[in-house]
């Protein structure tokens, strides 16, 4: 039975009953057994065991940070959830993967950041399209939640904001004197 943990989803802390399958040393994508229930499998496992996994009602996949969003292109509708892994919080490839999944491929299901997910990255992550965050287990998730609201304005477009500031508002200098 997977233990229920908390995640941030749509700006709230909620219980989560998905589990993430990670391959251990010696596991191979085509032979690893995918447990029952709601499981987020590595994309390599999805590719290798696609036929069986297609039979399951709910299946999620996760993309490694060196993946391209395009690999998921043909199966987008099959996934209840796509996760992107951050092996280290300083690895920024996941931001472009998310942006491309949302903007280029039009994925609109749950998009979850997993791995080394920390408060000070959440603001950026939500901007590129993540709506769920599995905050690293040793961190206070309620504290992390505050990271989503660090800024109330942004200059440039991304997934969350289709119109840059200069098209969105009338801008004018305010005198300081």
């Amino acid at each position: 039975m997977p233990v229920s943990t908390n995640i941030i989803k749509n700006r709230e802390v909620v219980a989560d009953d998905w589990s993430v399958l990670r391959l251990n040393e010696g596991d191979s994508a085509d032979s690893v057994s995918v447990p029952a229930g709601r499981v987020i499998v590595p994309f390599s496992v999805w590719s290798a065991q696609r036929a069986q996994l297609l039979e399951r009602a709910e299946i999620g996949v996760w993309l490694a940070s060196d993946a391209q969003a395009d690999v998921a292109k043909d199966d987008l509708a099959r996934f209840s959830l796509i996760a992107v892994d951050f092996p280290k919080f300083t690895d920024g490839r996941g931001y472009s993967i998310a942006y491309n999944l949302r903007t280029r491929l039009g994925y609109n299901g749950e998009l979850r950041a997993i791995g080394d997910v920390l408060r000070d990255q959440l603001f950026y992550m939500q901007r590129v399209g993540f709506n769920a965050f599995a905050v690293r287990a040793d961190k206070d998730i309620n504290d992390a939640l505050k990271g989503l609201t660090d800024f109330s304005e942004k200059y440039q477009t991304s997934w969350d904001e289709k119109t840059p500031l200069f098209r969105r508002v009338q801008r004018q200098a305010v005198s300081q004197d």
Binding site: T90, G92, Y95, D120, F166
Partner: protein, 565 residues
């Protein structure tokens, strides 16, 4: 000059609050040092040899007098009374307390300043031409574009954790004064045959361990597409730049590995998707920003002034200063004045609180309240009336900012080196000082003419040694400090990377090495030939031969007493 509106103020204010809380969490151990590191770097805070260093952004080098006064205030209140101008047109303070750093940012915010993205693996402060808007050779003022890039790159959510730091430079004049060829992206403002404004786009330049000159990936990009095209470049780099080896993580390595043609192809493919999208710039936006860079209220003046002509003839010191430190202006009766922050005996680029206050007052009185930082670590008053140059010169002289050496041997670019920087292999400031002392004679310097001497304390190349006509690089050999010399580097329109002349030297040998290099030049030059021209004509062989022909005294051995600084 650009002024914040309510949105800029809000974003910077929220940044200060965010950072204050990050510092609090670090001090409470809710954040480990490893977790805190990229956060503080993206706020310009480095841990240095002795203390924290704070690098403050000076967008494209432009400052108002209240901002300059704020630097003086920070120098006095939070540092040891001085700051350090950098090759990226910023200013650094070397003796900062972590606990006080949020307060500094709060104070900076009151004068529309910050330290956002002055460090870290994100898009850094965009640099430009220090003579933007006034240079006689300007095609288009690059500052509105630089400002649009500043806004776009500030907290860009997708590009805050790139494989490596990312630097953009933009130039709008015939003569490139922004070192665009050695930036991750260099933009040249150009006009096409129809007179439309656009950019020539260079990618993959940089210095450091692997110095590379940028490649042109697009000859003409209409200005409206600047931001979407930059986004496409950054997206390709973010996904495909190497992350396994920090020395191979810069975009220059990716461009080289793929070839410029293939890189350009990938960028164009990426761009197709966002081209003409909402991030496309509009004429309205350009006009909104450009109105901050309209010419100041110049008077209608004759090209020269009788009093000025007389002062020039009567006073050799003034004439020398005019020759080196005063630049042509596009408006009749005005000139751009470069304040030399390169006085012998002072580390290049170091400026005191008193000098900062002085420069702010001077700018208010004589130059519409504006100051610029050059990438050679000097300051500029861009709009001084010719009739007031003499008065300005006298005032500046009294403050030690009038050394008539701009572009000359002692106008050295020098990184902080081993005196401050924890990455250094060797000191650089004492080398700059020893050279400056040896060649203090101005007549000699004027005879040598334009020459670029650049010093870095390690291969990171903060002092631009690769593009110095003479470049000096601090190296470590068995735990002691040595200096490797290259010649033939150049910046600007004919950027080139210098060639190493041979085995390295001790600190004590360096002034003699420079003397020997110069003597080859003096003997071999044709009339009107600059040092760099002679090197290019003859190659490095004659220089190398003479420098190593006979032993150079090493003076005292390297050790504690060897350091003069």
């Amino acid at each position: 000059m650009y002024r914040y509106d309510q949105y800029d103020h809000l974003i910077v204010k929220e940044r200060v609050a965010q950072y204050r809380d990050q510092v609090r969490r670090r001090l409470a151990d809710e954040l480990t040092e490893e977790e805190f590191l990229p956060l503080r770097l993206q706020n310009g805070l480095y841990m240095q040899r002795h203390a924290y260093m704070l690098r403050i952004a000076v967008p494209y080098g432009m400052l108002s007098s209240p901002q300059v006064r704020m630097f003086a205030h920070i120098a006095r209140k939070y540092d040891r009374g001085y700051g350090h101008l950098t090759t990226r047109q910023n200013i650094q303070f070397n003796w900062i307390n972590l606990e006080q750093s949020p307060d500094i940012l709060a104070e900076l915010a009151t004068v529309e300043m910050h330290a956002i993205q002055t460090s870290g693996n994100c898009i850094r402060n965009t640099t430009s031409d220090e003579l933007a808007g006034v240079a006689a050779d300007e095609i288009i003022d690059p500052r509105p574009y630089a400002e649009m890039i500043r806004e776009w790159s500030t907290f860009h959510p997708e590009f805050a954790f790139l494989p490596r730091k990312f630097k953009i430079a933009i130039s709008g004049a015939e003569q490139d004064r922004a070192a665009t060829a050695v930036h991750d992206i260099g933009l040249h403002v150009v006009k096409n045959a129809e007179g439309e404004v656009g950019f020539r786009v260079l990618v993959g330049g940089g210095m450091g361990r692997t110095p590379i000159i940028g490649s042109v990936i697009r000859e003409f990009l209409p200005w409206q597409h600047a931001l979407t095209y930059l986004e496409a470049i950054l997206r390709v780099y973010n996904q495909h730049g190497r992350r396994d080896n920090k020395y191979k993580a810069r975009i220059k390595i990716l461009v080289k590995a793929l070839s410029a043609e293939e890189f350009a192809r990938q960028v164009e493919a990426e761009w197709l998707d966002i081209k003409d999208g909402p991030a496309t710039l509009t004429v309205d936006e350009l006009q909104r920003i450009a109105q901050y860079f309209t010419p100041p209220p110049y008077e209608t003046l004759p090209a020269t002034d009788a009093g000025f002509e007389a002062q020039k003839t009567d006073n050799k010191g003034f004439a020398n200063w005019l020759k080196r430190n005063v630049k042509a202006h596009k408006v009749s009766g005005y000139a751009a004045v470069i304040l030399s922050v390169k006085k012998t005996g002072v580390p290049p680029g170091d400026i005191t609180a008193a000098q900062l206050d002085f420069v702010a007052d001077l700018a208010d009185q004589y130059s519409f309240g504006e100051v610029r930082v050059t990438h050679e670590q000097n300051l500029v008053l861009a709009d001084v009336k010719i009739s007031e140059l003499f008065t300005v010169w006298q005032a500046v002289k009294a403050q030690g900012l009038a050394t008539p050496n701009i572009g000359l041997l002692t106008d050295i670019i020098c990184c902080p080196g081993g005196d401050f920087c924890s990455l250094a292999n060797a000191k650089s400031i004492p080398i700059a000082q020893a050279i400056a002392e040896k060649f203090d004679n101005l007549d000699f310097q004027h005879d040598i003419g334009d020459i670029e001497l650049n010093i870095s304390g390690c291969i990171n190349a903060c002092g631009h040694h690769h593009v110095g006509n003479i470049g000096i690089l601090g190296v470590d050999k068995d735990g002691s400090e040595w200096y490797q010399v290259s010649i033939g580097g150049a910046q600007g329109n004919n950027t080139s990377i210098g060639k190493i002349i041979g085995p390295s030297f001790s600190a004590q040998q360096m002034p003699v090495v420079i003397e020997r290099l110069l003597s080859v030049y003096v003997q071999q030059r044709t009339e009107e030939e600059l040092f760099i021209d002679t090197v290019q004509r003859l190659g490095i062989a004659p220089f190398k031969e003479f420098v190593y022909a006979s032993p150079i005294p090493t003076g005292y051995t390297h050790g504690e007493d060897a350091c003069v600084y």
